[in-house]
């Protein structure tokens, strides 16, 4: 590292910046966006809009926490959008059919954990790349969902089921979930053996094995955990509107993966934080909203997303090259 010879204070700052560089960039971008767009169109800063940016996209941030762990472990999951759609539909159906609310919340999450543990087992023991397994899973979940529901919407869900719409202490519960899960996941990744083994497996699988980690078990565990986060995201997604459309939210997996990558999770595995991915999910939500308030057609949103992934990935590759 170039700053090694300077005074200790600089070195700490340098270490901090190089450790959290991406997170700081994303955070500053969010602040800059709020200032600039707010100055052009003050309605951007209205309570309703800020509420919809944070509460309406918390489920994406939560799914991105799980996705970040998957990518840190050196894998990927392109079926998460379909999984969230399936979870939302199962939860809504259970709630409408009159099952106890806690069952309507927890059973779909359990389903997500089991499905993803299965995916993880396939990935870990057969060595089939996760992209292929999850591509297959994507079409199974998507096709299964549309066949089972015939595209019918779910309405008339009981009010006590709508957890995303509750506002403990005046703040939407979706935001509470987002903040709490981000903190818990950060601590988990940093301070538990399992959390650290995720980084180790993603950094170098054989080295991790030599260090006494069981990479197969770690991969299965990561996928199961990812299922847990996707499950919570699915429940929030199901309960944020009065209707569940029983379809796979378009491009959700892409948004989730992008949040992880832009938040600083290296696509080559081994590094990254979930604080970054949560911030990046918020940044996207801000960009999407800002486009509307700046009268830019929302049709360009995906092109912007694509450019951002590309730019981040190229920067990541450049940084890795200069680190060597």
């Amino acid at each position: 590292m170039s700053g090694a010879a300077v005074s200790p204070g600089r070195t700490n700052l340098h270490r901090f910046l190089s450790g959290y560089g991406q997170e700081i960039v994303v955070l500053l971008s969010i602040v800059a966006l709020f200032v600039v767009v707010g100055a052009i169109n003050p309605r951007f800063l209205s309570d309703t809009n800020i509420n919809s940016i944070f509460a309406g996209n918390a489920y994406i941030a939560i799914a991105a926490i799980g996705m970040s762990m998957i990518i840190m472990a050196g894998h990927i999951d392109v079926s998460v959008g379909a999984l969230i759609g399936v979870i939302a539909t199962i939860a809504g159906t259970l709630a409408v059919k009159g099952y106890p609310i806690w069952i309507a919340w927890s059973l779909p999450i359990l389903f997500a954990v089991v499905v993803n543990a299965g995916v993880g087992t396939l990935v870990a023991y057969t060595r089939i790349p996760s992209i292929v397994v999850t591509l297959g899973m994507l079409s199974i979940l998507k096709g299964g969902l549309i066949s089972a529901t015939a595209g019918e919407w779910i309405t008339n869900m009981p009010a006590e089921f709508m957890i995303a719409q509750m506002r403990p202490f005046g703040i939407p519960s979706a935001v509470w979930f987002m903040v709490a899960l981000t903190i818990i996941a950060s601590l988990f990744l940093r301070y538990t053996d399992f959390g650290r083994s995720i980084y180790a497996v993603g950094g170098n699988m054989e080295a991790a094995r030599a260090a006494g980690i069981n990479p197969e078990r770690t991969v299965i565990g990561v996928f199961a955990l990812h299922g847990l986060f996707a499950g919570v995201a699915g429940i929030l997604f199901a309960t944020q509107l009065q209707v569940i459309q029983s379809t796979v939210p378009p491009n959700l997996e892409l948004t989730v993966i992008t949040a992880s990558v832009i938040g600083g999770v290296s696509i080559l595995g081994g590094t990254g934080t979930v604080i970054g991915s949560t911030l990046a999910a918020i940044l996207f939500a801000c960009i999407g909203s800002a486009l509307i308030f700046l009268n830019v057609s929302a049709y360009w949103l995906r092109a912007v997303l694509g450019l951002m992934i590309l730019a981040t990935v190229l920067a990541d590759m450049a940084r890795r090259r200069s680190d060597k």
Binding site: I76, L122, T126, R127, I128, P129, I131, V132, V133, L135, G136, M137, L138, S139, I140, K142, G143, G144, I146, S147, N251, L254, I257, T258, V261, I267, L268, S297, Y299, W300, L301, R302, A303, V304, L305, G306, L307, I309, L310, V313, L314, M317, A318, R321
Partner: protein
């Protein structure tokens, strides 16, 4: 690996395809008719063209997730060049196809020049190209193409759909290139061991750049046929096509890790999938049910492949 082993997978696949055909024919008497089979060939052409290029991509150990988006972008540009910019339709077709090919070249450039893993590079361009298509079209569709244009997607030559001729010709060309030329051998060498290939003087980056560019070209060609077949352009055209193409290639025996695979296998994989889709639909399974089957077939095929690999002591 000997030629005998290579042929074994294709033989099994061919037998499987025949069995599937017999079963499907017994389930519905509409399945095994000339009309239906030719019509299925028509539907197969777009994904077929892309699968041919995808075979090369996967043999090098790469992947291209952006093919469906390139198809959508090319289709939208074709409509915009013709309708909004007022270019003559032939010029619009050529220009749009050039853009689609360029999009493939950009993929190759990102992958070879900046060392970005193909999965991530094409995931980003999947979003970018589809986003451009959406942004440029603003969800408006273009219709009202002249009658002659529909020949590419709906016309027939000697009683066989035009695009089936195109697909047949492209399959032949791809099979010759991959199987019989130095370029094909370079493709296998890169997939088997990229570093070794580099040290043996193979121009790895140039080869890969050509292959990703070709994938762009095939997607663009498929776009023209697609637009001509359905007589309209929409920005969501070709969504999810990458999955169909990858499934066909992998089902055809191409190793997802690279280094192994044939065009014949891909062609058989394509036929099997199309037969399954069509046969299941004819026997009453709804459209979305068939996606489930394809997902299961994909995972199953790779699982079986992986188990064989293990038994071989690899």
């Amino acid at each position: 690996m000997t030629a005998a082993k290579l042929f074994r997978h294709e033989t099994i696949l061919a037998i499987l395809t025949v069995i599937a055909m017999i079963v499907l024919a017994s389930l519905s008497d509409k399945f095994f008719t000339v009309d239906n089979l030719l019509n299925q060939g028509r539907l197969m052409a777009e994904v077929g063209l892309i699968s041919l290029a995808m075979t090369f991509v996967i043999v090098t150990g790469g992947i291209d997730l952006s093919v469906g988006s390139i198809l959508g972008l090319t289709a939208i540009l074709l409509g915009v060049f013709w309708k909004n910019l007022g270019l003559p339709l032939p010029a619009a077709i050529v220009l749009a196809m050039a853009c689609g090919t360029f999009a493939g070249w950009v993929n190759g450039l990102i992958i070879t020049r900046f060392n970005v893993p193909p999965l991530i590079a094409t995931l980003a361009t999947l979003a970018l190209y589809r986003g451009l298509a959406e942004g440029i079209s603003e969800a408006r569709s273009v219709r009202g193409y002249p009658e002659w244009f529909f020949f590419f997607g709906q016309g027939e030559v000697l009683g066989v759909p035009f695009q089936l001729w195109v697909l047949g010709f492209a399959t032949l060309v791809a099979a010759v290139i991959l199987g019989l030329t130095p370029f094909g051998r370079a493709t296998y060498a890169i997939g088997a061991n990229e570093v070794a290939a580099r040290f043996s003087g193979i121009r790895v980056n140039a080869t890969k750049l050509w292959i990703y560019t070709a994938a762009g070209f095939c997607s663009a060609l498929a776009a023209v046929i697609f637009v001509s077949r359905v007589t309209t352009t929409r920005s969501d055209m070709g969504t999810g096509l990458e999955l169909d193409a990858i499934t066909a290639v992998v089902l055809g025996g191409t190793s997802i890790f690279g280094g192994r695979g044939t065009i014949i296998g891909t062609a058989l994989g394509l036929i099997l999938i199309q037969a399954l889709k069509n046969g299941l639909a004819l026997s009453g399974v709804k459209g979305d049910g068939t996606i489930v089957v394809i997902g299961l077939v994909l995972i199953g095929a790779i699982l079986v492949g992986a188990l064989f690999d293990k038994n071989r002591g690899g």
